[in-house]
Symmetry: C2
Subunit: 412 residues, 2 copies
């Protein structure tokens, strides 16, 4: 019997430390330092996989990025097989978190880990620092129990899952591979076997600035951006009208989100510019280049509704996610072996579900490494008062510990 409970205190302390590191984009390293230390506390030798801007910009599956990535690292470690004959495994999680949305709406500061009963509150607690902790908790429990495996187990703490996926991609460029991958995303009670692709695009809408006293002689970019958004909402409706399997059983699978808007530079000047940053999903099988063309055609169509915009067409810029969806066959041994491990802990098999989100799983699937998501139970990810169930984190570690042994095989 595998006893992960020996790691409970260590895991909860690690989660608190990780949550209190505000690892937003560009500030991931405080979290990676903690992960390196924690991997060492598992008896592993952590290694840095540095992001290589040039290699990423040349890679056809990298997402475009306008920011600096030099000096940014994934932290990885390998628990090497003690004997041959087993299957290798990647256990992956991301250290980066999204911003708090509205810090003043939180009941406690987003980067203070607050415990209330079984819930641990904080930005990133669920998405997905508890998943990183569950991975290391499982590995540490097995190693302290003297387990030796027949396959390599690689743990990965990657950056930029929330904006590009280029962290996980860098690990693959670096040569990391395995027979399967589990991403400990906050997908509890089920394995995620399909995911959408995601496109981030930024529509830059022009206006004609004039003094507000003569506003009707100008053209307001803020209102023009709304015209464009209206057309994009129509595209979203079209994309949801006839979903292919497995998304035909999902309500509203394709979500358009105008996530950030910024326009104008003076209250008494008609806005000259407005940038609307959107996230739009696509089904597995859709080429992201095809969705880009659809978005551009939609923006162009919106511009035709307005003579000023027709003469000053909005520009669509890409920065962040340009990624395809992916699907894992239900026949994959990974699905069966992980389901069995789950059933060993929970008494019943997990669900097998598609998600309307994207994750780093696509990179592994694209490289021939079957990959599913499974993790702790979280609430309000990307929302206010994000929280994770500590019991579910410990359960997840227990499932992973069983799975590691079953997948890699125990030596001797």
């Amino acid at each position: 019997m595998i006893d992960v409970a020996t790691q409970s205190a260590w895991m909860e302390e690690l989660l608190v430390d990780l949550v209190q590191a505000p690892t937003e984009l560009g500030h991931e390293d405080a979290g990676q330092a903690i992960m390196a230390r924690a991997m060492a506390e598992c008896g592993l030798e952590p290694r840095d996989v540095w992001l290589d801007a040039e290699a990423l910009r040349e890679h056809r599956h990298a997402a475009p990025f306008s920011w600096e990535v030099s000096g940014k690292r994934n932290v990885v470690a390998t628990w090497p097989a003690a004997a041959p004959g087993g299957r290798s495994l990647i256990l992956n999680g991301h250290i980066d978190v999204v911003p708090p949305a509205a810090a003043e709406l939180w009941h406690s500061p987003p980067y203070v880990a607050r415990r209330e009963g079984d819930w641990l509150y904080g930005r990133g607690a669920g998405d997905m620092k508890a998943g990183l902790v569950a991975i290391l908790g499982a590995v540490r429990a097995l190693r302290e129990a003297g387990v030796a495996l027949c396959g390599d187990v690689h743990v990965q703490s990657v950056v930029e899952e929330e904006c590009t996926g280029n962290g996980a991609l860098q690990c693959l460029i670096d040569g990391m591979s395995a027979d399967a991958c589990v991403l400990a995303e906050p997908h509890p009670d089920h394995l995620t076997i399909a995911q959408v692709g995601v496109l981030w695009f930024h529509v830059e809408v022009a206006g004609e600035p004039v003094h507000a006293a003569y506003a009707t002689t100008g053209h307001n970019a803020i209102e023009a951006a709304h015209t464009v958004l209206g057309a994009l909402r129509e595209l979203e409706s079209e994309l949801n009208s006839d979903p292919p399997a497995p998304y035909d059983e999902v309500t509203h699978p394709i979500n358009l989100n105008p996530g950030v808007i910024a326009g104008g530079d003076w209250t008494s000047t008609v806005a000259a510019q407005c940038t609307l940053s959107c996230r739009l999903a696509m089904y597995p099988g859709t080429d992201p280049a095809q969705l880009r063309r659809l978005v551009e055609a939609t923006v162009a169509r919106a511009a035709q509704r307005d003579p000023f915009l027709a003469a000053h067409p909005p520009r669509v810029r890409y920065d962040g996610f340009t990624c395809e969806g992916s699907v894992v066959s239900l026949d994959e041994p990974l699905v069966r072996v992980l389901s069995d491990a789950y059933a060993r802990v929970h008494g019943a098999a997990p669900g097998l579900r598609p998600t309307t989100a994207t994750t780093d799983a696509r990179h592994f699937v694209r490289n021939g490494i079957p990959a599913v998501c499974f993790g702790a139970r979280a609430q309000a990810i990307h929302g206010i008062d994000e929280r994770v169930s500590l019991a579910s984190m410990h359960d997840c570690a227990r499932v992973l510990a069983h799975f590691i042994c079953d997948w890699a095989g125990v030596a001797g």
Copy 2:
């Protein structure tokens, strides 16, 4: 015959220096240093009138402001009367400029003074650094010609005309007064005898942030802000439906401008917040407090159209202009004497017009000092490639020189 042409080179050099000082809000002092030097070059003794945050916050006609004003000064100087019996005068201009709207759309950088024929390009060239130059050009020409006056002439270079009017107000709090005031705003060919009031308000709209993958379970503040804007546009229409004189002869006198928008903090998070900053005008005679109530009622009405907003009502915040309109009687001696001076230079009387903008004139009018605007010919103020006619600046100086003599009376 008054010869202002002696000052042409000095004036044009001064204008170039002023335009190249990027005196946006919070950065006015580079311009005020130049103005102090220029006043000294007129043989005047410049004096600083420091903004007093406490005095302003207590003043019922000050506009609210959230930024630091300590260390911010108006620069003023008095040309004292050499003999009694004449009328005193304030010649006023503002040193602050609005931001460039979209610097990359300019044909030359906004804070590089570029001359092309009669046009001098640059942010603030017209609004209203050419006006400040015309004032000093007139004063310097008269003083160098040995003119002595029977009334004091006060020149004022004030801050914050573009956002609060608190600079000019501070001069009045400081005790400056006169029998009339001319503001050398870019209102050519006419005297501006009425102006609207202006309210700046900032609507803070709440959303319910969730992961973009489940966007329909949240509430997007960016789109909610547009709902609010729709209701405000209805209010604008109502306000334009039956304009009182003198605005009954003006097309669309009341302009609402959504000048700045900022919302959301992550492309893949449903926006939790959106702030829409608006400028809305009011007719002379409207109490700004009454317009505030109308705006708040309109925002509340918009919120009732949406269950989420009804439960999370948008907040209206005031920062910047809260100012009434003002009107000067056509019977004022100021109007006749300045019109006569204009006719002396141009051969015909100027128009007498209301404007759909606000200016610092209201503070003087409220304090019993008749005040009109008259100045150089500008194009694209608050727009792209703002420019001013140098010939019109020199003409304006000529008119002001005549007017100063006629109004104050020449001694001896």
